[in-house]
């Protein structure tokens, strides 16, 4: 993965000094609250219900074991001994003290981490597929482009005060989209044109939140070297013409829709014509320099351990289940991709203790070349595990709580921190997730149901991505009481769609029953081999409505 050079290190050190100075002025009363607000947000610092919340950037989800260990230490020294993996591949601390934040940032900088632009109306952490570089079906590894975008967007002087936040995601797989690029402000799909040249299909104007939208394509093919100049053109058009009078209409999706995608694309092209040959145009040399950080680890030459695994599966049914659900194919023979699930019933989705962070670091060192990836589903991936070590790994992680074999199942819930922690939330989300997990505790039944995305957000800011859940749950406030609205049919993949609202909302205690009824309708209506989403798309929302509101 990427390693800082002397320039990156200098930025990191100077940034800590700057934020220390800003925090000092804020505490001394030299900065008004509304003046300090964007400064602290651009350093990931929210003032929350119980304490400040610090969101630490994990660029495109990649972390080294030393970084995990440092995070563990920080949660012990400055927090309550646990951290939270977010739905944007980042990490959050829920209880730091404002006065300690500069010290925390200094500790992070020592291990090449930071909290830059993890919030605020600026360009946020660029995200991508957690299986980048190890899956067989991607065109090229997308991570070097993510790193190029990270550097370009870091402290960009023109785009630090955009109308609203701005999120870019990159995907390189033709078959899958684990990065949900069509619900980002910019989604980049890496493609080859007819001449075989590498480039990007550019989507602009997707997003969740109050006005969920699947993004239109505004350019079918953008040559690789033009990436940054084109992004600069999109951002400049947005910075100049995006709405600033109403924060609920300020995302780029509203501008794209208001102008129409075609007219928006024309404006971008006109702007781009002026700057496409500027020095910001990438060079092959610059791309190769970054790509050199993402070379393959020192893989052993192996054969697939097919017979061994078959034997181990035969002897141990739980291992068999785990292998089927939580382990994916690797591009190299003899290796496998393992997802550690952070979704044990009773633990808030994505929460990990300091000890668990250290355990993950040890696992990375022992089984996966010292690196991990955080997923937007709030799990952690060991991307390079030898197949002949899978059984041993499984035995090691089972007592740690990372082997719940429910990856992509109904209980692998994406869930925001909700009203238990977040000042923005209308309703709690964690207890709803837990109640649903308790209801569906039979793994065989879950496997029979197949892959179902159930996503929960505690408010319409949609951190839990409820719009793109096959089953989406949104916490709403009705005269001071917490209720939950359900939507069906959402998807964040290549067939992206926004879920449709089922009807009036439900009380918290009714949620497991409601989900059960929805699942019952699916089981009755499905044809063989049909997923929940496919059945929903075939039969429509009515049968679900009839059952739930009967």
């Amino acid at each position: 993965m990427y390693v800082y050079d002397e320039h990156d290190r200098q930025f990191a050190v100077e940034r800590v000094a700057q934020f220390r100075d800003q925090t000092g002025r804020a505490l001394a009363g030299e900065l008004e609250e509304d003046e300090f607000l964007p400064l602290r947000l651009q350093n990931g610092l929210y003032v929350q219900r119980l304490a400040p919340m610090l969101r630490i950037a994990v660029p495109y989800g990649m972390m080294r074991s030393a970084q995990l260990r440092r995070l563990a230490r920080i949660t012990r020294d400055y927090d309550k001994g646990y951290a939270h993996f977010t739905t944007r591949q980042n990490v959050q601390l829920n209880w730091p003290e404002l006065k300690d934040v500069p010290d925390i940032l200094a500790e992070l900088a020592e291990v090449e981490m930071h909290a830059n632009q993890t919030s605020g109306n600026c360009i946020r952490n660029t995200t991508t597929d957690q299986f980048s570089g190890v899956q067989a079906d991607e065109l090229v590894d997308p991570r070097p482009y993510c790193e190029i975008i990270r550097q370009w967007s870091t402290f960009h002087p023109e785009f630090a005060f955009l109308p609203r936040k701005f999120k870019i995601a990159v995907n390189s797989s033709e078959k899958t989209d684990r990065a949900a690029i069509q619900v980002h402000d910019i989604g980049l799909q890496i493609v080859r044109n007819e001449a075989g040249e590498l480039g990007f299909k550019v989507h602009v104007g997707g997003g969740l939140g109050r006005t969920p939208m699947v993004s239109p394509v505004i350019r079918e093919f953008l040559p690789e070297l033009d990436l940054l100049t084109y992004l600069e053109a999109v951002l400049r058009v947005y910075n100049r013409y995006g709405r600033r009078d109403n924060k609920f209409k300020a995302r780029i999706k509203i501008l794209v829709k208001a102008l129409t995608p075609a007219a928006f694309a024309e404006k971008v092209e006109a702007e781009w014509a002026h700057i496409k040959d500027s020095p910001t145009r990438l060079t092959h040399d610059a791309i190769e320099r970054i790509q050199a950080y993402f070379t393959e680890p020192d893989y052993a030459t192996l054969n697939n351990a097919t017979d061994l695994l078959a034997e181990q599966r035969f002897e141990n049914r739980q291992f068999d289940q785990w292998l089927t659900h939580n382990v994916d194919n690797h591009k190299k023979p003899g290796y496998a991709i393992v997802t550690l699930t952070m979704k044990k019933t009773g633990i808030p989705p994505g929460d990990v203790t300091d000890r668990q962070l250290e355990q993950i670091a040890d696992l990375a060192d022992n089984y996966s070349f010292g690196e991990v990836r955080v997923t937007h589903q709030q799990n952690v991936v060991l991307a390079d595990v030898r197949q002949d070590q899978l059984f041993e790994l499984w035995q090691a992680i089972t007592p740690m709580g990372f082997a719940t074999a429910n990856l992509n199942m109904l209980t692998d819930i994406i869930c925001c921190p909700g009203g238990d922690y977040c000042a923005l939330a209308n309703a709690k989300s964690i207890p709803v997730a837990e109640a649903i997990q308790r209801r569906f505790d039979d793994l065989d039944y879950l496997y029979d149901l197949g892959a179902i995305d159930l996503n929960i957000s505690g408010c319409m800011n949609a951190c839990g991505h409820h719009h793109v859940g096959n089953i989406g749950v949104l916490g709403v406030d009705k005269k001071g009481e917490e209720f939950y609205q359900i939507s069906l049919g959402g998807s964040s993949h290549h067939d992206a769609s926004i879920g449709k609202i089922l009807g009036p909302s439900f009380a918290q205690e009714d949620m497991p029953d409601v989900v059960s009824k929805i699942i019952d309708v699916y089981v009755e209506k499905r044809t063989e081999e049909e997923s929940f989403l496919e059945t929903y798309r075939r039969v429509g929302i009515e049968p679900f409505k009839e059952r739930v509101y009967a």
């Binding site: 930025f11 003046e35 109306n121 550097q151 402290f155 023109e158 785009f159 600033r244």
Partner: protein, 168 residues
């Protein structure tokens, strides 16, 4: 106009006055014997009258388009860009366009809700003087202009992004 911050953080005093946009129906009142910054579109509308005057500059509000002055920018001794609220980032794009697209070479001034922590961004986008909001501590400007010794991107201050400097 009170103290003004320059690019290196030093402070100088000057007497340019910002003439607000007149209310509908009123005409522009440019004070006699006072160096004045007037709304850019009104300067253009009165081009015959104002062109070549060393004591008249213009200002843009954040929603206005610098394109209207394309080809004429260097007739002006001073162009100011107003930040009605520090969180309104349109002025950064206006500044870069004036400098990089229209080749403006004279003084580019940030006015309005100009605070210390935005100076670094303004500098990189081509501003070279800054009228800090009066309640802010002007002695801290030099430090705030120089928190960073370089940038990742090309902008008005450098046409070499870091990836090109790394290669050399």
């Amino acid at each position: 106009m009170p103290d003004l911050i320059t690019l290196d953080g030093s402070i100088r005093n000057d007497d340019w006055a910002v003439v607000p946009r007149p209310a509908d129906g009123d005409s522009l009142a440019v004070p006699e014997g006072q160096r004045s910054l007037i709304p850019a579109d009104l300067w253009l509308a009165g081009h015959e009258h104002y062109a070549g005057r060393e004591d008249i500059g213009v200002w843009f509000d954040s929603h206005e388009e610098p394109e209207v002055l394309a080809g004429k920018v260097n007739e002006l001794p001073v162009i100011a860009v107003n930040f009605p609220k520090f969180s309104d980032g349109r002025g950064y794009s206006i500044a870069r366009l004036l400098r990089e697209r229209f080749g403006y070479n004279n003084e580019l001034r940030a006015i309005g809700d100009v605070l210390l922590d935005q100076l670094q961004f303004m500098k990189r986008c081509g501003f070279d003087t800054f009228a800090l909001r009066e309640d802010k501590d002007i002695t801290k400007a030099a430090k705030c202009l120089n928190f960073f010794s370089q940038g990742y991107q090309a902008a008005t201050d450098t046409d070499e992004p870091l990836f090109r400097r790394r290669a050399s």
